[in-house]
């Protein structure tokens, strides 16, 4: 079972550069299948995560896989890729010569050899290695002295030009932003000359222009025979980009249609079984300033891109949306407001006080509630219970402890009440928070932040990776908090989200923050790319 990963043969026909020759015309997808999943079933205990799902993928087709969190999309893809062993069902792959093979279950090696590539939602990169090392990892023989880096580099550079996905090949992955890491993930798959590419939420961290470039390049690769399964929550993309849509719900396939015949309402009905209800944004009523950043700068070497002379006024009762591609200074801004990073220069005015820097304690004391970007890493302590995680930011409060002893009963009551109010679902308040799904973890964090009635809320990518229902719930809560008088800074790479929630829109690029009156995707996209509108 533990076979060494065989090198991907470089001399296979249709290597990356050849695949994306751009002079071919768009053809209609052929009906010749490359992949067929039949009766795929996976149970986890009593939960049926995938229930006899059939899925066909034709050569040169883009299939969008839609579904809420927990619908079984990732489970299905993990079975395809051999990371899970299916309880039932089989995976059939057809080679270019028409030969059919059945992938042995539970063997990623077989999927790799069948040239199936997967770009995971959660990155699978080695932080301490350079970009090029990460990409080549597993494609080289273990004991091979002549690494032939030059050829690999040339191939990668050609790939980068053709796909429009730029990544600094010699930088360490740990120095890259989230967006850059995602690009490396996609390049990693493309480098392996895949025939079937699975993209799990690929555009979550790209600008609209970059996303369009990605679609264009994937489209041209598709025309040359690549087949793509594309998991996304962004309906606009799904409708614009896919040839066919398959919808999963509660582990079952609930619908399948040609994209040309689909419309938003019908897809959402299949996904959640009811009409989609996005929260309506009413105009805010801004009051006094609650936070002011005054010419705040951070050197780019201290935090990705740093900040250049950023001035920002946040008033009570408004949502300030910060759009931009990740890695343009958002993390520096978020860390300053969270109290994790001290700026090199500039002042932070909060609650009538002018400070050089915050720390997490003073940030909390000044009524700044923080919804961190990486909820698993910064937001919760997975091994602690739900009840404990709900109070970790206010352990000194009288209802949490008395004389240093935890008031378990009071904590449990608090947890029961908040779980109810915020609809946090899981095995119970005393269970480890690790057992909650991503959406429920976010609701837990939201409950913790909002119950203290903060005057300022930093919401950093608050709906990333959440399904419609959970994302809409988060949006509704943020708008409600705004209406109660909180000032909210919403950092999001999802421009649609910024446009739908924010009272004011600012764009971050290369560490600078620019305000825009525009509500047009195209002109904001220009700003995100660093061009004056």
């Amino acid at each position: 079972m533990a076979l060494p990963v065989a090198p991907v043969p470089h001399a296979l026909p249709g290597s990356g550069a050849a695949l994306i020759a751009s002079d071919t015309r768009h053809e209609m997808t052929t009906s010749k299948p490359v992949l067929s999943l039949r009766g795929m079933t996976k149970r986890f205990g009593s939960v049926v995560a995938a229930d006899h799902i059939d899925l066909e993928l034709a050569r040169g087709e883009v299939l969008a896989l839609l579904g809420e969190n927990g619908a079984g999309k990732t489970t299905l893809m993990n079975m395809l890729f051999g990371q899970y062993t299916a309880d039932a069902g089989s995976v059939h792959v057809w080679h270019e010569d028409g030969a059919e093979i059945i992938l042995p279950p539970g063997q990623p090696q077989a999927a790799i050899e069948a040239r199936i590539g997967m770009v995971h939602q959660h990155f699978t990169l080695a932080e301490n290695l350079s970009v090029i090392d990460n990409i080549l990892l597993g494609t080289e023989r273990l004991l091979h002295l002549n690494r032939n880096r030059r050829a690999a580099r040339a191939k990668l550079e050609a790939l980068m030009i053709h796909s429009g996905l730029e990544a600094p090949l010699d930088r360490k992955v740990r120095d890259l932003s989230v967006g850059e890491r995602q690009r490396v993930e996609i390049l990693k798959a493309l480098y392996r000359d895949v025939r079937i590419l699975v993209l799990d939420e690929p555009t979550a961290v790209l600008t609209p222009q970059e996303a369009d470039t990605l679609f264009a390049s994937v489209r041209s690769m598709v025309e040359n025979g690549l087949s793509v399964i594309f998991i996304s929550h962004k309906l606009r993309e799904v409708l614009a980009f896919s040839d066919r849509i398959a919808v999963l719900r509660h582990g079952k396939k609930t619908g399948e249609m040609r994209t040309a015949e689909a419309d938003t309402a019908s897809i959402i009905r299949m996904m959640i079984g009811e009409e989609h209800d996005m929260p309506e944004r009413t105009p805010g009523m801004p009051g006094d300033t609650v936070v002011r950043l005054d010419s705040v700068s951070v050197h780019p070497e201290r935090e990705t891109r740093g900040l250049r002379d950023v001035t920002l006024d946040l008033r009570r009762g408004e949502i300030v949306g910060i759009a931009g591609v990740s890695g343009n200074g958002q993390s520096a801004l978020a860390q300053i407001l969270s109290g994790l990073l001290a700026p090199d220069s500039g002042r932070i005015e909060v609650g009538g006080e002018s400070l050089a820097a915050l720390n997490p304690r003073t940030a909390l004391a000044h009524g700044i509630g923080r919804i961190p970007e990486d909820r698993h890493h910064d937001g919760i302590i997975a091994a602690l219970s739900v009840a404990e995680n709900l109070v970790i930011e206010r352990l000194d409060d009288a209802d949490v402890q008395r004389g240093g002893f935890l008031r378990r009963a009071s904590m449990a009551a608090n947890a029961e009440a908040l779980s109810e109010a915020y609809d946090v679902r899981g095995p119970g308040i005393h269970a480890r928070s690790a057992l909650l799904s991503g959406g429920n973890i976010q609701k837990l964090i939201l409950a913790r932040v909002l119950e203290t009635h903060p005057s300022v809320i930093l919401a950093n990518q608050p709906t990333r990776g959440l399904d419609f229902r959970a994302a809409a719930e988060v949006s509704r809560r943020l708008i409600a908090a705004r209406d109660r008088g909180a000032g909210i800074i919403l950092i999001s790479e999802d421009l649609d989200e910024v446009l739908s929630l924010a009272d004011r829109v600012l764009v971050m690029h290369a560490g600078e923050l620019v305000e825009t009156d525009s509500r047009e995707r195209a002109s904001i996209g220009q700003l995100m790319a660093g061009h004056a509108a």
Binding site: F44, T85, G89, P105, R370, D378, G379, I392, F405
Partner: protein, 356 residues
Amino acid sequence: MIEIVPREQPSRRLTAGVPLLAAIGSLLLAAIPLAFAGAPIIEAYGQMFTGVFGSLFSFTEMLTRATPLIFTGLAAAVAFRAKLWNIGGEGQLYLGAMAAVWVGSGMIEGPPILMVPLVLLAGAIAGGLGMLGPAVLKTRFGADEVVTSLLLNFIILIFVQMMLEGPLKDPMSLGWPQSEPIIDEAVLPQLIAKMRVHAGFLLAIGTAVVAHVIMAMTVWGLRIRAVGENAAAARHAGMPVKRIFLAVAFASGALAGIAGVSEVAGLKGYLTTDLSPGFGYTGIVVAMLAGLSPLGVVAAALFIASVFVGTDSMSRTMGVSSFLADLTVSMSLICVLLGGFFARFQIRRVRTEGAA
């Protein structure tokens, strides 16, 4: 096809049962080296049992042996909970013992009510400082505390040797490198007449209970667990991560230091460089066997002390090497690690429809 699946929620019965099974498993595995040594196995086990439970003396000997192991086990358990890898228990034990003889061999005189707490405090501070060093190096420069605390053991042992040849040497010792004896007022009293088990054992039990209460019921315990499980999130939540880390380091070192005090003021009466046959290291096994639970440490220390004392007595009567004890203790650790794996993961055969 075999599949390894993580259990969603490891059951309580399983988590508690694993160390017990591991203990039994390691004892059973001891039959293999026993057979190689050519000893009659059933009889050997009998000797091992009577070596511990055969008489009041042997039983109290086991308790005496368990005493330092409870302290060093707690030292490791508390530190490991915060993901502070204190491998320097042995050195901290000697630092504690040295502080105890320094303060307690006549430098200060007073009634027992004063002297006993004083030597304990001196030992705790010395041991605590001994771990604070590696912890500061870790928080300031990122130096790996596994390496620094481990290497510090050898430095401390040589330092103790130097002190016993020099300033701390007893002029009445006829040239032996040993310290002056602890004065009577500073000695931990015997619990049972003519038996060696001393008040240090009760102190160890009490300390384990206090440690359990702190870890499970207080804000401090929650903070320590939070820092150990996810330091980034703990920092984000406003906890003073470095301070917690340093406090845990000091507490861990102090516990190991008290192990040294207890040995020197409860058992030996004076300090030599063979005070501890590796109690600091065995404490790590104790802590792992206990699943880092302070109350579990007491049970694990009693088990390991029983193995040592029982095997000692068995090896004397049966003529088997006493290294068998070390072997059994090591096997128990391996069994626990393996058992922990089975507690967290499910292994099952799966049959796949349509598999080639």
